[in-house]
């Protein structure tokens, strides 16, 4: 699931240029009529917004593009980390350029990254517009808001919507913006009616209607105010790796509380084990199938986009609980067998190694189960591993379950510790 959200993120946000203009004159006490307001906001922010283009090698055709906006004197801009991710991870193969709304172009260098909040601080050589004002406090649900960027490479664009405040129960903080954010607007500013920055365009759902997200401005401020000493390419990569590690540590740390469980067909199974985990359960109320199945699917949606095809620091799990009153034990267990197989879900040898597995019958609370734990190590982020876990009950000829747990990009020991807690929480109460 985290993959879907992140892919959507990439599609959503990419940048565009701006032109040097006098600083924005803030503070309208009355919200203007929408079209007039958008025009005014765009006029104010236009000079401070640039398109950021990424190029592979010496190609003059871009590999990808996003948006950035000035946050500090001296040509310092903010954009999304995912806009510059390939440059950070493969500095020898990618280069960055900015392009203002008036067509001025020049090289761009990366100063600092905040992978956890999908932000990057960049410097544009030869272009130093006045920075945009950052709003001091968080927005209120229902405020008018705007998003500016370069969607689909069609030029500087402003969209109008409503800020719905901070997303509840999100692992990383996000502002819910009910307005359009399309591919190419990533890294552009989310603005209030006065033209002050409330967040950074980051992602949205491609197939939903106007459900988009901004990174709250507090993280922009934190990154902007960090002391900037130029980092080498290697140091930047190490910083990104350290942030990934911190993210995964925090993720598993946040799951350290009591393992919340629920009972399904006599089995006690892990439920919504943290506030930021979303769970859905479904079943078929009217079925002619001799086996009834209840599915419970949970996911954290906490994953970080690291580079193309690589995500880390996420987790999801699902339980498939089967019961039958018509099938004999042989046919029922055969049906259960179909749910026990395991395979990885994504990735290539560029980023991760092959799985190593341990598969045994173990005694759990009140029942026996077959337990498979597989781990694969990250290739360049050596302390990180992916885990794939399967637990299948082996105790009843009429009831059974298969539980699938997948963890991405966490350290080995904490990962195994969580898996153990997850398995230990399971129980048979008949």
């Amino acid at each position: 699931m985290f993959r879907r959200a992140l892919i959507a993120g990439l599609v959503l946000a990419f940048p565009l240029p701006a032109q040097a203009q006098p600083p924005a004159t803030p503070l309208n006490t009355v919200t203007p009529a929408s079209s007039q307001g958008a025009r005014e906001v765009l006029t104010r922010v236009r000079p401070a917004v640039v398109q950021i283009k990424s190029f592979f090698g010496a190609n003059t055709a871009q590999a990808s593009h996003g948006t950035g906006f000035a946050v500090k004197e001296g040509g310092v801009f903010i954009t999304n980390y995912h806009v510059v991710a390939e440059r950070v991870q493969h500095p020898g193969k990618y280069r960055l350029e900015y392009c203002t709304a008036d067509g001025q172009t020049g090289p761009l260098s990366v100063l600092a990254v905040d992978v956890r909040h999908d932000l990057a601080l960049v410097r544009a050589a030869g272009y130093e517009p006045p920075p945009l004002e950052l709003q001091p406090s968080s927005t209120v649900k229902g405020d008018r808001a705007y998003s500016v960027g370069f969607p689909l490479d069609v030029g500087l664009t402003i969209t109008e919507g409503i800020s719905n405040g901070k997303v509840e129960d999100s692992f990383e903080p996000r502002i819910h913006y009910s307005g359009a954010i399309n591919a190419g607007m990533s890294g552009g500013p989310g603005l209030d009616a006065a033209g002050e920055v409330i967040g950074v365009n980051v992602s949205g759902y491609r197939f939903e209607q106007l459900v988009s997200f901004l990174v709250p401005v507090a993280h922009v401020r934190a990154l902007r105010d960090r002391s900037i000493s130029p980092l080498s390419d290697l140091e930047l990569k190490r910083e990104a790796a350290a942030q990934m590690l911190a993210h995964s540590t925090d993720l598993l740390g946040a799951l350290n509380g009591a393992m919340k469980t629920q009972a399904v067909a006599g089995y006690i199974l892990p439920d919504k084990i943290a506030p930021f985990i979303n769970c859905n359960a479904s079943g078929n109320a009217e079925t002619d199938d001799p086996v009834q199945m209840v599915q419970v699917r949970c996911e954290a949606k906490a994953g970080l986009y690291i580079q193309q095809g690589l995500y880390s620091g996420d987790l999801k799990y699902a339980h498939y609980v089967l019961t039958t009153d018509r099938l004999d034990a042989l046919r029922f267990t055969n049906r259960l067998s179909g749910l026990t197989q395991a395979t990885g879900r994504y990735g290539t040898l560029r980023h991760v190694g092959p799985y190593a597995c341990q598969d045994h019958i173990v005694g759990l609370k009140g029942f026996d189960a077959s337990l498979l734990v597989c781990a694969r190590r990250y290739r360049r982020f050596e302390r990180l591993y992916d885990f794939t876990v399967r637990v299948n009950s082996l105790n009843s000829p009429k009831q059974g379950y298969a539980s699938h747990l997948d963890i991405y990009g966490v350290e080995f020991e904490p990962g195994m510790k969580f898996i153990r807690r997850y398995v230990e929480a399971m129980e048979w109460r008949g």
């Binding site: 493969h90 500095p91 020898g92 290697l234 990569k237 001799p290 086996v291 099938l327 034990a329 042989l330 046919r331 267990t333 055969n334 259960l336 067998s337 026990t340 197989q341 395991a342 395979t343 990885g344 879900r345 990735g347 040898l349 560029r350 980023h351 991760v352 190694g353 092959p354 799985y355 190593a356 597995c357 341990q358 598969d359 045994h360 019958i361 173990v362 005694g363 759990l364 026996d368 189960a369 077959s370 337990l371 498979l372 597989c374 781990a375 694969r376 190590r377 290739r379 360049r380 591993y385 794939t388 299948n392 082996l394 105790n395 000829p397 080995f412 195994m416 153990r420 398995v423 230990e424």
Partner: protein
Amino acid sequence: MSAERVIVEGLDGNGRVEWRQRVELNAGRAFTIGRSLEADVTLDDPHAAALHASVEVADDGRLFATDLGSLNGLVVGGKPWRNAQSLELPDSTLQVGRTRLRVRTAHERLDPERPYAMPTSPLERRPAWIAGIAALATAAQVVYACWLGAPRDLAISIVTSMSLAAAVAAGWVAIWGLLSRVMQGRWSWLRHFGIFLGVSAVFVAVNGLADLAGFLFAVPPSSGRYTWIGAVALASMLFLHLRHASNLQASRAALIACTIPLLLAGAAHWIEERSRTRDVNYIGARMRIYPPALMLRAPNTLEDFFNRAPDLREFADKRLAEAVANEPGTDAEE
């Protein structure tokens, strides 16, 4: 004393006798061949003359052919002859028109009688029984597999699977039947049918038993199991087919039957292993589950399982190292 007689045989392209005729020699110890009723041996061959040739039997049993003025002449010793006169037939055969003939005389040396052993192989003695039993076993397996899947409509599932199995069997048996017909002059349908279905049924049964044993003793299936059991099944099948479709000696048939599956299985195994070192999403097949009451082995404790975590980590690190060793270059940047 009755007149001396010879036997004239008509041969097919493979040298097998298609027809046989007893002929009495005339006063000159000869007989004639042609399309006409006047000839002693009348051929139904448009390329033969009315009276095409005569064959004379010498006192010592040697045969001499004379062309009686035909258009197409004779073929003797593999060569065409025009207007041949008293041409000796070195191997007692000649070709008239498109008909190959062999002449057998009383002077012919006969090999001693060969001992005859009744066939002991059940496939030769009772091919119908074997084929019937194999067909029943296969049908039972198909029905069981369909039943096990608990489909909404069992009858449709069975008929579909049976049709598929029958089509595969028919195709395979047709190939071997044809080979038998060419090599031995008989189709041997039942034998090939019995071989294919019998070996297939044993293969399925062995795999099923291996799955069951894996569950009873809690052993996950090994990665190459299907490949190697399949190779043994294919080798057995090829050996039996070859023995019953050709005149190959047992040792040669065994050599062919083992070499082909060995090469196929070896290649499949190599490709599988090789691609597995690169496939970061591959996780092997897991134990098939049977009713829990059948399980014989006591479970491990969770403590034991997680005490082995360092081994798992070491294994994962090793797998990455092996994969990287096979694919250098990506890490060069750092």
